[in-house]
């Protein structure tokens, strides 16, 4: 065999050796332990520290809030869902920043958006909140209760006593018409109006958020259940033609 062929074969043999050697040298130590992968990477992945905390881990730092929260309907909403929205990857352990603007926060879940199941309580933010912070009426950790602890009734025709409402409505007929169809051009119809809106409106007159000398007095004379009932009654009436 000519010399150059021998030398060529030797080079090829060295290349083969280098390949085998490289395979042995550069294959990571834990490769092949469980399969075609680096077994050590499983531990690397699993050893990362969880950051999304179990709400119970905050019970020591915020015992009263935790007690309220865990006993109420919002216990399905974990602390970080509200307190870290937008998320802050650098939040210190144990600290839960106070959300600033509940009007930007609560609608994330509760704004009426097409696609949300009807079982989810949803509102039209502008007309429901009317510029007020959600937390002015709702305790965020027990939202069916006001911040002072009193329950908030959930408006809905199902809970309204329309017969009682009809009795009450006698005092409305003077301005708003006998069947909720107004006789005076500047006074609105109430027939077939949304009950939730009527509740919101009367509540607003009660608190002074909407101000009107006549309606203010009328609304303040009503109890919470009266508001519900009369709203339910008008909502059930047929619309004006």
């Amino acid at each position: 065999m000519p010399k150059h062929i021998k030398r060529l074969l030797m080079i090829l043999a060295l290349l083969a050796l280098a390949f085998i050697g490289g395979k042995w040298l550069f294959t990571p130590a834990s490769f092949w332990a469980y399969g075609h992968y680096r077994a050590a990477s499983v531990g690397e992945i699993a050893s990362a520290a969880p950051t999304y905390r179990d709400p119970a881990s905050y019970s020591a730092a915020y015992p009263q809030v935790y007690a309220t929260w865990s006993a109420n309907i919002h216990k399905v909403v974990k602390c970080q869902d509200c307190h870290l929205a937008p998320p802050d990857p650098q939040v210190a352990a144990g600290a839960l920043p106070m959300p600033g603007d509940s009007l930007k926060l609560c609608p994330i879940c509760h704004a009426r958006i097409v696609g949300r199941p009807s079982s989810m309580p949803q509102i039209d933010v502008a007309s429901h909140a009317q510029g007020k912070q959600c937390t002015s009426c709702h305790n965020p950790h027990s939202p069916l209760f006001a911040p002072d602890g009193k329950p908030i009734a959930v408006a809905g025709a199902a809970t309204a006593d329309t017969a009682a409402g009809q009795t009450l409505s006698a005092r409305c007929a003077g301005c708003h018409g006998p069947k909720g169809v107004s006789l005076v051009p500047t006074f609105p119809n109430l027939a077939c109006q949304k009950d939730t809106y009527l509740v919101a409106a009367l509540s607003a007159y009660q608190t002074g958020a909407r101000s009107n000398p006549v309606m203010g007095g009328v609304a303040k004379s009503l109890r919470k259940s009266d508001v519900l009932n009369v709203a339910g009654y008008f909502a059930s009436l047929p619309c004006a033609k």
């Binding site: 065999m1 010399k3 150059h4 062929i5 090829l12 290349l15 490289g22 395979k23 550069f26 294959t27």
Partner: protein, 399 residues
């Protein structure tokens, strides 16, 4: 919904309809368009050199060594777009040490490595007589380079050269399946994926291989004509006509198989065909037009050239023009497949429009630079190892 979103440091593609959020940044860009293009040139140039070395078709003798050098030059540059694209190029050799054989990509390291060694040996054998002569004549660093290349043997006796010829025959024969593997696997990479409708096809490896040969032969024609013009040497018209025949026949089969793919796609019209129509009428309209037009026109011209046995300057002129157009057509085909496939959303409900960046590693400028550099490298190789004349035994090499 077509507002362009600019999120530094990468650009998201605008889309119509619905695409998965993770699809808005295309994973594979122009680098993955240029990579199969360069390996395609390797396959094509190698086929031509094999026609001479393996199949002993004498008319391709004038370009056989040039074809070999071209294939080698392009192969050296083939990994560069991939290395530029990898998130961790320093880990690239993992595909050799722990190759995962179910992946077509793993095949790349081995096939390319094997093919590189094979092609290096073939180039060495084809030029060994010249290397020996140059080693004895050249001074300085270059002379030392040649002397190393001789592997210490200056034996150019008939016996030694007979060994060389035998090795060349074996290597050239082995090289054909290797070249088929080197480029066929790229087609398999795309064709085997069930996630992308535009890629998933049994015909993909065949289409890639055929269009690769087309582009390689066309590139070789351009290289041969340009180098002859620069060196002011005569162009062997028998050789050029032979290349025309090879180009014509591979172009015909390529167009038939590619056409078959489209015909069957539209005949079946399975779910998602609406988005495919939108893709064709939208983002890849220009690319498909170039691919079709720059294949059909040269095919028609080549048919005339061959039927009327055109010779002389007309042959050279028309052949070169056809080859340039064909090279553009195959590049367009790579774009239409790689980019077009990603523009058709996996949701079958949307189409994206990709505009490549100009600068940066994923930019058009870098891809074109790598492509141009492979030609520069080829030029350097032709200066180091002039392929122009077959070195006879003991004959000096004219530089």
């Amino acid at each position: 919904m077509d507002a362009l979103m600019h999120v530094a440091p990468f650009v998201a593609s605008p889309f119509a309809g619905y695409v998965y959020p993770n699809e808005t940044i295309l994973p594979w860009g122009v680098l993955i368009v240029i990579y199969p293009y360069i390996t395609g040139l390797v396959a094509g140039a190698f086929i031509v050199s094999s026609l001479s070395h393996t199949f002993r078709i004498a008319r391709f003798e004038p370009v056989s060594r040039l074809a070999l050098l071209s294939a080698f030059a392009f192969l050296c540059f083939a990994p560069t777009p991939l290395l530029s694209h990898l998130g961790h190029p320093e880990r690239a050799f993992e595909a050799i040490w722990t190759a995962h054989w179910s992946s077509a990509f793993a095949a790349f390291g081995y096939v390319a490595g094997f093919y590189f060694i094979l092609l290096s040996m073939e180039v060495w054998f084809a030029f060994r007589a010249d290397i020996v002569a140059l080693a004895q004549r050249t001074q300085g660093v270059l002379g030392r380079f040649y002397r190393v290349l001789t592997l210490g043997s200056y034996d150019v006796s008939e016996r030694a050269l007979a060994y060389d010829r035998k090795w060349m025959k074996v290597l050239a024969a082995l090289g054909i399946p290797a070249a088929v593997g080197l480029h066929g696997y790229v087609g398999f990479v795309f064709g085997s994926l069930k996630s992308r409708e535009w890629w998933s096809s049994d015909l993909m490896p065949i289409i890639f291989l055929l269009s690769a040969v087309v582009s390689g032969v066309a590139a070789l024609v351009v290289i041969y004509v340009v180098s002859s013009k620069v060196r002011k040497t005569a162009i062997d018209e028998d050789c050029l006509t032979g290349l025309a025949w090879v180009l014509w026949s591979f172009l015909l089969v390529t167009m038939v198989v590619e056409g078959l793919e489209y015909v069957e796609m539209f005949y079946r019209s399975i779910e998602g065909i609406g988005e495919i129509r939108r893709l064709i009428a939208g983002p890849i309209w220009a690319g498909l037009t170039i691919q079709a037009l720059f294949s059909l026109l040269p095919f028609a011209v080549l048919s005339v050239l061959l039927a009327r046995r055109v010779r002389g300057r007309a042959l050279v002129g028309w052949m070169t023009s056809c080859s340039v157009l064909v090279m553009m057509a195959v590049l367009a085909m790579r774009w239409n497949v790689v980019i077009g496939g990603q523009e058709l959303s996996k949701t079958a409900k949307g189409v994206l429009t990709f505009t490549p960046p100009l600068w940066g590693l994923e930019g058009v400028a870098w891809a074109l630079t790598l492509f141009a550099l492979s030609f520069v490298y080829l030029w350097v190789l032709t200066r180091l190892l002039p392929p122009w004349e077959q070195a006879a035994v003991g004959a000096p090499v004219r530089r």
